[in-house]
């Protein structure tokens, strides 16, 4: 009797513990209607948001906002590309649309993903080691990458820019720039590259490389300031450059390069800059300055008028809801409606939040994104629903 009881126990035990494993599926997307009150305005149908995902977690993901329905959909890549191994990959770093194609840089998976912008279906994968940012001109994509050849100092590779043919996805050329190149901008026939040298602390790079796109050769380097990151050209031939500082003694600043003479004309000491975007003549800038010395954060949201070179606003969020934002990490302004989008990355390991503000800086809606929402691109073509793809 007791023996039976024992055997029964063992049996129950094993059955119980063997029956609880769910099927491992491709995760479907999740939708939330966030703005049912407004219809599409202008020719912008929506935007894609690339979530970076924490390093090593393979959680880069793509979200889509549909202006025609006011619906925000998280994680659309997997269900549209179930046979792409391990989804988008590790750490999304940039997203841009060129023609009919949506390009995404997946930094730690070392490749650039090319998708059909109408369906988000995978078209090609371009391997580029430690790739960072994208720029396009005349049928070519330019991709900045940290991993150039090992030069002089074996502990810090010099970076390069790869030139990719957008029709056949082949890397046709490359050009060595500075250390750990970040964002690029094209003005005229020149490609500007912000070199950070972020891996060489405290010997940061401090230059912007200028590449002649005709010969695809570096013409010269413009010395600016340490740890450069973003570039944004305005409508007057000026290029805005952000410096992150060193988080100890050197604060973050914004610099202006005159692209006709390729010299730094202005140093904006009072415009710390983590990220910026231009809409018309308004340069929207946020900064999250951190100091290891004081351990304190300073967050600011500014608007800079590029025609007068004056700061017109110190806080473009007017209703006090900036208090809800822990770590602003992504910024975009709809060029038609001038709505402002600020993405909050929070503690980097929780899902982020995207906030939409009216041009006047009043919060309209908010939605949960993937992890570390960061890069936004507006689309002029409607994304087809999933079932129309097949």
């Amino acid at each position: 009797m007791r023996k039976k009881k024992f055997l029964f126990t063992v049996l129950v035990f094993s059955i119980l513990f063997s029956a609880c494993r769910k099927e491992d599926i491709i995760l479907p997307s999740e939708s939330a209607v966030v703005n049912p009150w407004e219809q599409m305005t202008g020719d912008i149908y929506g935007f894609f948001l690339l979530n970076e995902g924490n390093m090593g977690s393979n959680k880069a993901s793509l979200d889509y906002y549909d202006y025609t329905t006011g619906t925000y959909t998280r994680n659309i890549y997997g269900e549209r590309n179930p046979y792409e191994i391990k989804d988008l990959g590790d750490v999304g770093n940039d997203i841009k649309i060129y023609g009919d194609k949506l390009w995404a840089v997946i930094n730690c998976s070392n490749y650039v993903e090319v998708m059909d912008v109408n369906t988000v279906q995978h078209l090609a994968k371009i391997p580029i080691p430690n790739c960072r940012y994208l720029a396009f001109k005349d049928g070519y994509a330019y991709v900045s990458a940290y991993a150039g050849p090992v030069k002089i100092d074996p502990n810090a590779r010099i970076g390069y820019v790869a030139k990719v043919d957008t029709t056949n996805y082949q890397v046709v050329d490359s050009c060595i720039v500075g250390y750990q190149p970040e964002e690029m901008a094209i003005v005229g026939n020149k490609l500007y590259v912000a070199n950070s040298g972020g891996y060489r602390v405290p010997n940061y790079d401090y230059t912007v490389s200028v590449i002649d796109l005709g010969k695809f050769e570096e013409l010269y380097k413009i010395p600016v300031a340490i740890n450069l990151h973003h570039l944004e050209p305005d409508n007057y031939g000026n290029l805005y450059v952000s410096s992150r500082g060193d988080y100890y003694d050197v604060p973050s600043k914004t610099f202006i390069i005159d692209t006709k003479r390729d010299v730094v004309t202005d140093t904006l000491h009072l415009l710390p800059n983590s990220n910026m975007t231009l809409c018309g003549d308004s340069l929207y800038v946020y900064s999250t300055e951190f100091s290891y010395i004081t351990g304190a954060w300073t967050v600011s949201y500014a608007i800079f008028d590029t025609s007068t070179k004056q700061i017109v606003s110190r806080n473009f969020i007017k209703d006090g809801t900036d208090a809800n934002i822990k770590v602003p990490y992504g910024l975009a302004v709809n060029p038609v409606t001038r709505e402002i989008f600020v993405a909050d990355a929070k503690d980097y390991v929780s899902p982020g939040t995207l906030h939409c503000f009216t041009p006047q800086g009043i919060r309209k809606w908010s939605v949960t994104t993937g992890d570390i929402p960061a890069h936004i691109v507006f689309t002029h073509k409607p994304l087809k629903p999933l079932n129309e793809n097949q």
Binding site: V10, V34, K86, D90, P127, V150, P154, V367
Partner: protein
């Protein structure tokens, strides 16, 4: 869920039906090595709440590559395994975090002032005799201040020599199997006289750590890859001398370990066209020498001295072939430790201990320019004083109260200010009540308040550390019971049952938080976690003619929820999901294990099963963070062959019998079915 509830009910039934089973006279037939049992019971004489332990035969027959694998069978314990043979393995007791666990080897704590965690993957099972886990603290009143100083403790005790006829014991072991494993070890024990014995033990291991793993999605991709760069090579040598006479007991031990390994890293999406594999390498060299001396001066007074010197070197390399941040960092750690404990037996059932410990830690490091520029080469002076008293009342009530005082002083090299000094007082109270003299039924309860100090990394790590950190505090409340019964003339020879319910909180949890980009983080005292749990264990043993059967079942239920204030969302509409109050990462609600050991004459069959329920990775309990449950079945068969004076043991193991593809940590795939053969020769 329903099934799990049914299971809990079932366990409760077993728990309460035991008393009705049989009440015949007790015998002292114990399974396993009786000598080991003696050692264990002797050590436990003063323990008010015994811990969980695995020892002797049960421990030997578990398929384990390191002590971390054996710890998976304890209830309330989570092991984090970063995939494979070489990967990091850490212990977490009752979800409070691995830095809250004190890891002790032969009575003295192993510390890592740099990051506060001990990689258990480095501790070999060869020559290990007892593994014990204590919640709160070991409740022996006569112990060093360090034994009072962590929220949970894990004790490893290596084999003490035991002699039969000759003055020499020899043992040689050869293990081989999957992952190109070759592991050879030798042991020599010698009796130098009536009171002095010695032991020398050496082990060499080499494995490629290679295995295939598969990610297969229903209606989606299906990929099989090879886990690379998981190779390990190590040499471990230990030598110890033990001595004793009527009133004193001493030991001296030296330990040396050197290893080189690859870190396989996360199996995230990679484009192998440009061959960017995980190529991180780590070299370790650990050396320590430690000793202890216990003297019984009189019936009233005895003292214990302990001392240790440890010297650790670690080299971590991310070679230039990779394109992520290259690094070649060297870390040198040194530790000096001394402890003096004084036990006073005031009356028959009342004793008190005053223990004082001193510890000095130093970390030197050298790496990239970025690393060196602001690194302060910290040194830490820790003084601990514990006062404890224990009361054993005649009606079955035992109590222990202790207060620990900790003083901490950090020094740097002047590049920047070190963290301010810390002074902390922390209490513990333990109770045990045995209501019936003839029935081995004990009720127990404890409360403990303790903290972990911020580690050197937390405080000073370049571009991360924050000097303003406070200690991370835990509060633990526990009630439980244990029951044990032996049966003389029955198929079931003994049964032991234990169950505990607990509530823990972790406040001012030290967590890394980003500042303005992915490369710059800092440490803050932010987290607040509430943990509610139930641990249960049932260990029946059976005997039928020549067949001995011992079973060990454990089950853990845990809700560990994150109530960090920062995670509270303001009302931002329906589109925003709140993760406030979600289960913390990698803590399953349900987990359990079963070991069934069956021996027949010289044959032994061991079956072990581990279940870890569904969990979530970082970032809230949402579908994208879901990590499925896993469960593995391991089987081993061994046979002892006696040829004259030699004893040959042959063991064959099959692990993960059903080739389940699983991960303990997301994107760190674990091995499928694997094999091992062990030959052990004892002279």
């Amino acid at each position: 869920m329903k099934r799990i509830k049914a299971f809990i009910l079932l366990l409760c039934c077993i728990l309460f039906s035991v008393e009705t089973l049989s009440s015949q006279t007790e015998t002292v037939t114990l399974l396993g090595d009786s000598l080991q049992e003696v050692v264990v019971t002797a050590r436990r004489a003063r323990e008010i709440i015994p811990g969980q332990s695995l020892s002797g035969r049960q421990l030997q027959h578990l398929s384990s590559n390191s002590v971390a694998d054996a710890l998976r069978y304890f209830s309330g314990v989570q092991i984090k395994d970063y995939g494979g043979i070489g990967g990091l393995k850490t212990i977490n007791i009752r979800s409070m975090g691995s830095q809250h666990v004190g890891v002790f080897y032969d009575g003295i704590q192993i510390t890592n002032a740099q990051n506060g965690t001990v990689d258990l993957g480095k501790f070999s099972m060869d020559n290990m005799e007892v593994l014990s886990v204590y919640n709160g603290q070991k409740s022996d009143v006569f112990q060093s201040a360090k034994d009072f100083a962590s929220a949970g403790a894990f004790y490893m005790v290596s084999r003490r020599p035991v002699f039969k006829d000759s003055d020499n014991n020899f043992n040689f072991k050869l293990k081989s199997g999957s992952f190109d494993l070759v592991d050879f070890s030798g042991l020599w024990e010698h009796r130098w006289g009536k009171n002095i014995v010695s032991s020398v033990n050496a082990e060499v291991l080499n494995t490629s750590g290679k295995y295939k793993f598969r990610y297969q999605k229903e209606g989606g991709y299906d990929t099989t890859e090879v886990r690379r760069n998981g190779d390990v090579f190590f040499i471990r040598t230990e030598a110890a001398v033990f001595g004793k006479n009527n009133s004193s007991d001493w030991m001296l031990k030296g330990y040396f370990y050197t290893s080189e390994r690859g870190y396989p890293g996360a199996a995230v999406k990679k484009d192998y066209e440009i061959s960017l594999l995980n190529e991180d390498r780590q070299k370790d060299r650990n050396f320590f020498v430690q000793g202890s001396f216990t003297k019984r001066v009189s019936d009233f007074y005895q003292f214990m001295l302990k001392a240790k010197y440890a010297n650790d070197y670690m080299n971590y390399v991310m070679p230039p072939e990779t394109t992520v941040q290259p690094a070649n960092n060297h870390y040198w750690q040194q530790e000096v430790y001394a402890s003096f404990s004084n036990l006073f037996n005031l009356t028959e059932g009342w004793s008190a201990n005053v223990a004082a410990d001193f510890q000095w830690n130093k970390l030197n490091a050298d790496g990239s320019d970025m690393f060196n520029a602001n690194f302060i080469q910290p040194r830490r002076y820790t003084f601990l004083v514990a006062a404890a008293t224990s009361l054993d009342l005649s009606f079955g009530l035992k109590m222990q109260g202790s207060v620990l005082y900790t003083y901490l002083h950090d020094k740097g090299n002047g590049k920047s200010e070190p963290a301010p000094d810390k002074n902390e007082f922390t209490p513990t109270l333990l109770f045990s009540y045995k209501p019936f003299r003839m029935i081995d039924l004990n009720f127990r309860a404890f409360y403990k308040n303790i903290f972990r100090m911020p580690t050197f990394n937390d405080l000073y790590y370049v571009q991360l550390g924050s000097r303003s950190l406070k200690p991370e505090y835990t509060d633990q409340f526990d009630i439980g019971l244990s029951f044990r019964k032996r049966f003389a003339h029955s198929f079931c020879t003994e049964i032991r049952v234990s169950a505990d319910a607990y509530y823990n909180t972790v406040k001012d949890k030290i967590i890394a938080t980003p500042t303005s980009n992915q490369l710059t983080w800092t440490m803050v005292n932010l987290g607040y976690v509430k943990i509610r749990g139930v641990d249960m264990g049932v260990t029946p043993t059976f005997r039928l003619a020549d067949v001995d059967l011992s079973v060990r079942l454990s089950y853990t239920w845990q809700k560990a929820q994150d109530y960090t204030e920062e995670k509270k969302e303001p009302d931002l509409g329906e589109g925003v999901i709140s993760v406030y109050g979600d289960q913390i990462p990698y803590i399953p609600v349900h987990s359990g294990s079963a070991i069934i050991n069956c021996s027949y004459r010289s044959w032994n069959l061991n079956y072990s099963y581990i279940y870890t329920g569904e969990r979530y990775m970082l970032g809230g309990n949402i579908p994208v963070n879901y990590v499925p449950a896993w469960y593995t079945h391991d089987v081993s068969l061994s046979k002892s062959i006696r040829v004259k004076k030699c004893l040959l043991d042959v063991t064959a193991e099959i692990n993960n019998l059903f080739n389940q593809q699983y991960e303990v940590v997301k994107w760190y795939p674990m091995p499928g079915t694997n094999f091992k053969v062990i030959l052990s020769l004892t002279l």
